[in-house]
Amino acid sequence: MPTSVSEAVSMLDTSRGKALPIAGGTDLLAYWPERLDARDKTYLDLSGVDELCGHTWTDDELIMRARTTFWEIVCDQRATAEMRLLVEAARTVGAIQIQTRGTWGGNIVNASPAADGVLALMALDATLELTGVEGTEEVQLDEFYLGYKQMKRREDQLLTRIRIPRRAYTFQSFTKIGTRKAQAITKVGLAIAKSDSGWRIAANSMAPTVKRCPDLERMLEDETPIRNPTDFLPAIRADVSPIDDIRSTAAYREHVMARVLFHELAPLCPWVGAKSKSE
């Protein structure tokens, strides 16, 4: 089992994509009892690679190494003060037993469209560092996913670091709609952030990947008057493409997303709500 990033990356390269990196195991082991093929895969264990542990704050960034757990961020008071989205997202992931094992890096490369950690990271403009035998490459998280479970990570590459810019946020909101508060997969998830870099809106469980919502962001930048939640629907339909599945329906998801946006933004934005004097 590897003890350094360079060793892990060279093993990934040698295995030609057959070895699946495993960190906290909270996604991968959930399948082991029922899917024998999942047990029989070849895994590259990262639990001995200490270089991938922990997070640090620099003057202008929060740097999370890939094995940083959700619980670590939940317990970091500076994260609560500066990047509340991260803490709120982490607290909705399963429950404490999952948060202590599950990692931010694992949440990203598991590539679930319902990933709550990814949702918060995307609204905070995170950058990923992918390390391969030939060196390290940077990818913006909002450009990382190409389709359902498809991403810009080559098979020889390991996600090593996640970098989040430190900005003065005037607004951060995280909403997870699920069947119950804990231990639930998101039906509709929304992260909204506002800083001097502008509005960011990201949604999960609304498309084949967690996704930024450029049309909605533009509506907010332009201060387009919104009188009721349905005014958001055209932009929602341009930005995301929800489906009917076992957890919910596409129509429900669109309408809930519109209502969540309205509910979160109306107290903050004079141009959103019945008081809007657009006419």
Binding site: G25, L29, W71, G94, I98
Partner: protein
């Protein structure tokens, strides 16, 4: 060295309830199965087997984890504490508030409750209910569990 599951067994040293032990396991073995079937520590229960119910909760290096989601080899060098480490009698507050009926969830509930008792500072940011949310119980409706934990913490009105 990557690890296909058909490979030979691996040795995993760890500390279990204060004693240093070494187990030989398949690379794909779960900590839950090592505890129950290799070590006959059957206090830890399997509920869902997929990280939802918390029945298999143990402490790993001082933090609660679902032992069904931990490959045993990842426990190497770790300190593992199971329900067998809990003193008889220390669960009295749970008995007295109706926190247990069928008992399937109880070992996990007790492990989470004991962790909370040792980590009271987490109540500055979390509620008892949030910290116990990883343990599903289909009998009690949770109020008995929450009341029992609050009473053990000295927060409840009933003791």
């Amino acid at each position: 060295m990557t690890m296909p599951a058909d490979q030979t067994q691996i040795e995993v040293p760890f500390t279990l309830n204060g004693s240093e032990i070494v187990v030989r396991v398949e690379p794909s073995e779960r900590l839950l199965d090592t505890l129950r079937y290799h070590l006959a520590m059957t206090g830890t229960k399997e509920g869902c087997g997929e990280g939802e119910c918390g029945a298999c909760t143990v402490n790993m290096n001082g933090l609660p984890v679902n032992s069904c989601l931990v490959p045993t080899y990842q426990a190497r060098g770790a300190e593992i504490e199971t329900i067998e480490s809990v003193q008889h009698g220390s669960v009295h507050p749970l008995h007295s508030t109706g926190a247990t009926q069928c008992g399937a969830c109880t070992p996990g509930v007790v492990m989470s409750a004991m962790w909370l008792l040792k980590n009271r500072d987490k109540l500055d940011t979390h509620t008892v209910r949030e910290l116990m949310a990883g343990n599903l119980c289909r009998c009690t409706g949770y109020d008995g569990i929450v009341n029992g934990v609050e009473s053990a913490l000295g927060l409840g009105s009933d003791e």
